[in-house]
């Protein structure tokens, strides 16, 4: 039973929540946060959108099928571990850039791994939510 207040608020909340989820994901290495929480926040954002507008609109807003997100997330996580193999070190050894960057401080393969976690969590939650909410 979507109300006007909910649907209007959701339209602004979705991008804000998504931005927040990415913020949570990226700061995770140094401050509370991380890919898992970030993925959950993003999933909650889309869940809200689903409640307000229904599954078809939510799917449109997501653009990509959540199942593709799962696969892509797993691929990202695994390939982040492969970089170290190229450098001749065991699988999933963290490799870090030397430069200091804003927010992230440094960029390394574990951050890419975390992005994979983010995508998998988002994809899994939305796969289940969409499947349940679809008539």
């Amino acid at each position: 039973m979507p109300t006007l207040i909910l649907s209007t608020a959701t339209r602004y909340l979705l991008p804000l929540l998504l931005l927040f989820s990415i913020f949570v994901l990226l700061r995770g290495h140094n401050e509370p946060g991380g890919g898992f929480v970030g993925g959950l926040v993003a999933a909650a954002a889309y869940a809200l959108y689903t409640v307000a507008y229904g599954v078809p609109r939510a799917r449109q807003a997501l653009r990509i099928s959540p199942r593709v997100l799962i696969g892509f997330g797993l691929l990202t996580a695994v390939s982040s571990g492969l970089f170290s193999l190229l450098a001749g070190q065991p699988f999933m050894t963290g490799i870090w850039s030397e430069q200091d960057l804003p927010v992230l401080h440094t960029v390394g393969t574990p951050v890419i791994f975390d992005m994979g976690v983010y995508l998998v969590v988002l994809g899994v939650m939305l796969t289940i939510i969409f499947a349940l909410a679809e008539e």
Partner: protein, 801 residues
């Protein structure tokens, strides 16, 4: 060297493609690989015959001491030559035998994997490299026996061989691990120098038993022999290659390889010699009773393997030489006879010897190969088999202990072998022509080339034994004895006891051959005995396992979510409670900490919400109350400095409530409630579980808090992993592999949920598909239902999912 070993794996990938492009010539093209391997290994003969060895090592898992290291000496080279050489002939032969078979590409792919695995086993220096390749041979053998996977008998035989040899493989692994720990090395070359240390170690006997178990299962020794005759379900080239010439001999190889390390003790002599002798006699006897060409050959292979094991158990210099020579003899004649059997089967459509006769004029070259091989098997002079048999008799005659018994056993087994040689090598080709389903004609080149070469080699080496004595036999025997061995082979050793025994053997064999149908009439007696044999134990074990698994599954996986929860919680309470109270002893310090006002409020809210969730009659209210509990706990996390945990908990709670609302909103109102007894039971379970948790927490907090992990992560998080948030650094870096596993599980779970929801449970089509396995069909739609508050409601409503 690594190229030589692994090339088979690479070529197996492109083999199906070669078959498609090469059509009729594919066999010849693919044979180029084993042929070049044969030439390569042949070129190494001059190294090993000079008494030298080669080692190669490539890093694999260096941190665990596991390397792809290879070791070439006379023993491994003999095996490598047999594997590659016979492999070449088999690949050519299969091109004719399976011509036009739609799965020929798959066949070649598997046989090349097998070839590479075999080379890996016999050339490995690292014992774990050896084990990995050992298991690969079992798996490729499984695939090849079950090649014709549409027949149930083939599938059954494949599974049987895999279970028997795989079970032995597990024992072998355990033995190798113990050996590696005792010897402080995983490299064979290092271990071989430590035989005194290992033989005096208390773990010597377990190591010996486990390794022998692996070897005996693989080499089909009594009582593990029964898988080999059944493995004859495989296409004949496979039977010739795997189940006669090569794979079944890796058990022999293993025992030969480890004999300098483990051999020479009393327990070795008794275990190995006794098993080998029993197997030798048993196989020889049963071979006489069979009528199927391939089964006769299979039982005589078991007998030959027993002979080899017996010789290795004896372990004298003569025995080592005899073992190596007989190994070569057997590979040549038995490989050839199997291929002959395949050609006869192919041309006539018959494998029963009672229906074969007079084929000699129709397939002269095949008959020639069969005749030569049979003469070698019977041990007639000028063929290698004669020298082999003489050496075996020499060995047993010169023993200090049990000489008479072992000689008698060897003579008996060989008499049977002579008769078998007559039955399979002569009987089908001479005498009265018997009508066969297919009119036989001359076999094509591909079918006679292999057997003729193998049989011809038996004649050449048998007439000129000097060609192999110092190049192949001597170095290989040296590998068994761990010291150089000089072998002098001759056709004629003078008039001595072993020559006399040879004559006795030939005459006795001819007698048994003449009386073969009389012998075969005793078959029913042995069949009755076989009903109590190891194959019956195997079947009973398998059936018992299936029944137990079914009962256990039916009990534990009833299909009701509530009974799953009940089982999980009760067993948890029982196990944790037992450990905590009985093993650990209750040790609780009830020091009341300072509780701040707002902490008390949150705790009160949690308790109230939990109580509401348990009492309410509305599902939505229960879900909301549970959400409150979750948020309350998350708040406690915030109070106690775990922001990461709190954040995650908040998000999870939110999404859980959303998910549950989505599910529950489409269920009708409760119609029935569980009765009072059930509710009381659930209450008791819940209170016990909660009480135990409380006890556990109190016990843990009563202990002084010590951890090596916390300071480790705190110190290294920033320096090693460039992150200040320890929790997240553990998740993505220190324990990143765990997280990778978890997100994979999560993905699989999502796929499961998606499939359950989208497959429209209760569809008739689904039920009929699932119904293939019998009575479960009617239960299935309920069983797979995810949300079982009330099954009868789900049944009515499941169309919605």
């Amino acid at each position: 060297m690594i190229v030589a070993v692994l090339s088979g794996f690479v070529f197996s990938v492109i083999a199906p493609w070669i078959v498609r492009i090469g059509r009729g010539a594919a066999g010849w093209l693919i044979a180029l690989l084993p042929l070049s391997l044969t030439i390569y290994f042949g070129s190494l003969i001059q190294v090993t015959s000079a008494g030298e060895t080669l080692t190669y090592s490539y890093a694999w898992v260096p941190s665990q001491g596991i390397n792809l290291s290879f070791y070439v000496d006379g023993l491994s080279l003999l095996f490598a030559l047999l594997i590659a050489g016979i492999g070449t002939l088999i690949v050519i032969y299969a091109g004719g035998y399976l011509a036009g078979h739609p799965q020929l590409g798959r066949f070649y792919a598997t046989i090349l994997i097998f070839l590479a695995s075999m080379l890996g086993v016999v050339l490995a220096n690292n014992i774990f490299t050896l084990f990995v390749f050992w298991e690969l041979t079992s798996i490729s053998s499984f695939l090849l026996i079950g090649f014709d996977h549409r027949r149930e008998a083939a599938r059954r035989a494949a599974l049987q061989s895999l279970l028997v040899t795989g079970g032995g493989g597990l024992a072998l692994l355990a033995g190798l691990i113990l050996l590696g720990q005792v010897g402080q090395s995983f490299e064979l070359t290092t271990l071989l120098g430590q035989n005194e240390l290992i033989q005096q170690h208390p773990l010597y006997l377990p190591i010996l038993l486990l390794i022998l178990l692996g070897a005996f299962t693989k080499s089909a020794q009594v009582p593990f022999h029964f898988w080999l005759p059944n493995a004859m379900e495989a296409p004949t080239p496979v039977s010739a290659y795997l189940h006669s010439a090569t794979m079944v001999k890796v058990g022999v190889y293993l025992i030969a390889r480890f004999s300098p390390l483990l051999g020479g003790t009393d327990s070795w002599f008794v275990l190995v010699t006794l098993t080998g002798t029993v197997t030798m006699l048993f196989g020889a006897g049963l071979a006489l009773l069979q009528t199927d060409l391939k089964r006769i050959l299979a039982y005589s292979t078991i007998s030959a393997l027993g002979t080899l094991i017996m010789l290795l158990g004896i372990g004298t210099t003569l025995a080592a030489e005899a073992a190596v020579l007989f190994l070569l003899v057997h590979s040549l004649y038995k490989g050839s006879l199997f291929l002959v059997a395949g050609a006869v089967d192919q041309e006539t459509g018959v494998r029963d010897i009672r229906w074969l006769g007079g084929l000699g004029r129709l397939m002269p070259i095949i008959a020639l190969a069969a005749g030569l091989s049979a003469l070698s098997m019977a041990g007639v002079p000028f063929l290698l088999g004669f020298i082999g048999k003489e050496l075996i008799y020499e060995t047993t005659l010169h023993l200090p202990d049990a000489s008479t018994w072992l000689t008698a056993a060897a003579v008996l087994a060989n008499i049977a072998m002579v008769a078998v040689a007559g039955i399979v090598g002569f009987r089908p080709f001479f005498g009265q022509r018997v009508e066969t389903p297919k009119a036989p004609h001359r076999a094509p080149l591909t079918l006679w080339l292999g057997p003729l070469i193998l049989a011809g080699l038996g004649l050449v080496t048998g007439s000129l034994p000097g060609t192999i004595s110092d190049t192949i036999i001597g170095p290989a025997a040296g590998g068994i004895l761990a010291q150089p061995a000089h072998v002098e082979l001759a056709i004629f050793h003078g008039f001595n006891t072993s020559l006399l025994l040879s004559v006795v053997t030939l005459l006795g064999g001819a007698g048994v051959f003449a009386a073969r149908s009389l012998v075969r009439r005793t078959m029913p007696i042995f069949e009755m005995a076989a009903n109590w044999g190891p194959e019956t134990w195997y079947n009973m074990t398998l059936a018992g396992l299936e029944i137990t698994a079914r009962k256990l599954t039916d009990t534990l996986q009833s299909g009701y979510l509530r009974s799953y929860l009940l089982i999980i919680i009760v067993s948890n309470v029982a196990l944790v409670g037992y450990t905590l109270v009985i093993e650990n002893g209750l040790n609780i310090a009830l020091a009341w900490p300072q509780i701040r006002f707002y902490e008390g409020v949150v705790a009160g809210v949690i308790l109230l919400a939990a109580f509401t969730a348990a009492r309410t009659r509305s599902r939505l209210a229960a879900v909301a109350a549970l959400g409150v509990v979750g948020y309350g706990v998350a708040l406690l996390f915030v109070f106690f400095g775990a922001p990461d945990l709190a954040m995650t908990q908040f998000s999870i709670e939110t999404l859980t409530v959303i998910l549950l609302v989505l599910i529950l909103s489409r269920l009708p109102r409760f119609k029935t409630f569980t009765d009072k007894r059930t509710r009381n039971r659930d209450m008791i379970v819940a209170l016990t579980a909660g009480g135990l948790m409380t006890l556990l927490v109190l016990t843990v907090t009563a202990l002084p808090f010590q951890s090596r992990l916390t300071p480790f992560f705190a110190e290294n998080s920033l320096t090693m992993a460039h992150g200040r948030n320890i929790v997240n650094v553990i998740l993505v870096d220190f324990r990143g592999l765990d997280t990778l596993g978890e997100i994979t599980v999560l993905s699989v779970a999502a796929a499961g949920v998606f499939a359950l929801l989208k497959l429209r449970l209760g569809d008739e089509s689904l039920v009929s598909q699932a119904g293939e396995d019998g009575q479960d069909a009617t239960k299935r739609p309920e069983q797979t239902g995810l949300f079982h508050t009330e099954p009868h409601l789900i049944k009515r409503e499941r169309g919605d999912f």
